[in-house]
């Protein structure tokens, strides 16, 4: 097996995460439902729309399956914000998963700020399958808003 020697990248990011606002590049995790928001993301892509690459999409079958643990884990692993996005009320492929998601997000918004994770770092939106443009706009605005909030404390160190 031949070994490839990789040239070090010119401006490789520092190993230890930084809280320096100038060097801050937000990381966001978005849980998007297969039937609406993910389809919208796909549409945005095929329509050649652009949005910031700070957002990591995680496709789930329904926002109703986003257990609080996924959101918590994302934050503890260093996400600066988490977005849960699904079908508009009444449009859920599974009839009412998005309504249940809304209650779970509400509960998390009651709990997380208590530990210094600002409620604004957790977002819930409804983006329909045909809303490619809205998807790109929402992601752009989402990243802007996180940039404004600055880095989340949890990214600095291992949360045991």
């Amino acid at each position: 097996m031949t070994q490839t020697v990789m040239e070090p990248e010119q401006d490789s990011p520092p190993k230890t995460p930084s809280l320096n606002p100038d060097a801050f590049e937000p990381v966001a995790v978005a849980f998007v439902c297969n039937w609406c928001t993910y389809t919208a993301a796909d549409l945005a892509g095929t329509s050649r729309l652009t949005y910031p690459d700070n957002v990591r999409l995680v496709r789930v079958m329904c926002t109703g399956m986003v257990d609080p643990q996924y959101v918590i884990k994302a934050f503890l692993e260093g996400a600066d914000a988490v977005l849960v996005s699904g079908c508009h009320p009444g449009d859920c492929h599974y009839i009412n998963g998005n309504y249940k998601a809304r209650r779970r997000i509400k509960l998390l918004k009651q709990i997380l700020p208590r530990f210094g994770i600002d409620a604004q770092r957790l977002r819930l939106t409804w983006i329909g399958a045909s809303d490619g443009i809205e998807f790109a706009q929402t992601m752009t605005r989402f990243v802007e808003e996180i940039r404004g909030l600055g880095p989340c404390q949890a990214r600095l160190q291992q949360v045991i």
Partner: protein
Amino acid sequence: MIASIQTKDHSITRTLQDFFAGMLKTGAADAVLVPSRMSDSPYVKPCLIASHDRLDRTVPLGPGFFVNAGPMMSRLTRTRAGSTLVAWLRPCEIRAFVELTKLRQGAREEVVIIGMDCPMALSRTDYDDWAGQGNDMSDDVEKWIQTVYQKPVTQVDAWPVSRACQVCDAPYPVNADVSVMLLGGDLDREIALRADTEKGEKLLAEMDLSEGQEPERRKALLADLETERTEAFQAMDEEMLDQTGSIESLNRFFSACVNCYNCRSVCPVCYCKECVFNTDAVAYAPTQYLSWADKWGQVSLPNDTVFFHLTRLAHIGCTCVGCGQCTLACPSHIPVSDLFISVTRNARKAFDYVPGRDDAEPLPLSVFQESEFTDIVGMGNKEAT
């Protein structure tokens, strides 16, 4: 209907034991679930007793509380047994059972629940100390009972009751079939019982008791208790906010946690048969650990400690009954319930939900309304935190 039992030989324990024996003798109950000691051990556990001559080791009222009987009720009522069970439960055990029935983990059709004004509990180490003070535990138990029901107390002799009890906002039976009204009672003379449901009335009628009344001072004492405990809760809440208000301080708070999951095992409302923390979801590849060590410079193991506790907080955010068992069971002496009670009692306000308050009240996360919480949807919200 309010009935009264005459206290025999100045012993409340003896009187209640006879009361249970009476139920078994008359057939009003096929079995009773009462906290009882095993042999000479001072430790009490819920015991299902079917024979009227096996009640002398029961300790219906005392500071020993090492198992929340809510899940035990769930075991006993999972399917129909075709017999009548009478369960003697603390208020937080009733709350737990009510929540479990909503989660379809039990049913109360065949059970008559007797709830009592709570005798509170001691921490495990304090209990050892308390139980070891004399030769005969029964005198200490009587003294305990005589002390805790006369006025709001937070300690008996040298032993402070557990923090969860000090801040408990419902130390009286709610959703019981029979309520035993001990607060402010002349317990040397009589014990007053109130039937709250038809089942309760039937049970008391079968026992052929004399008529009684609620102790005169009880309502005033309950109001005093509420005031004191609201203040105690606020103090604890502030303390917890101070100790866990950031991720960094939360890390410190749980730094002694060894991931034994005792808090989960004893939690009466953590009911999942297969917890996600026992699955492959948290069985990471070795490279993952190395990548974490690389990212943060170090990684302490076992990991996922705060993740576990925060997830549990979210999972039982609406149903935590505040019994304090998690703290009692923690080998690292982390005041787990202080944090859980403080966080959940505030969090569930959003749903105007109180666990155990009403059988008919659905679990907040199992229902929804079409138009609610619309303010949390979309970008640009600046909701107050």
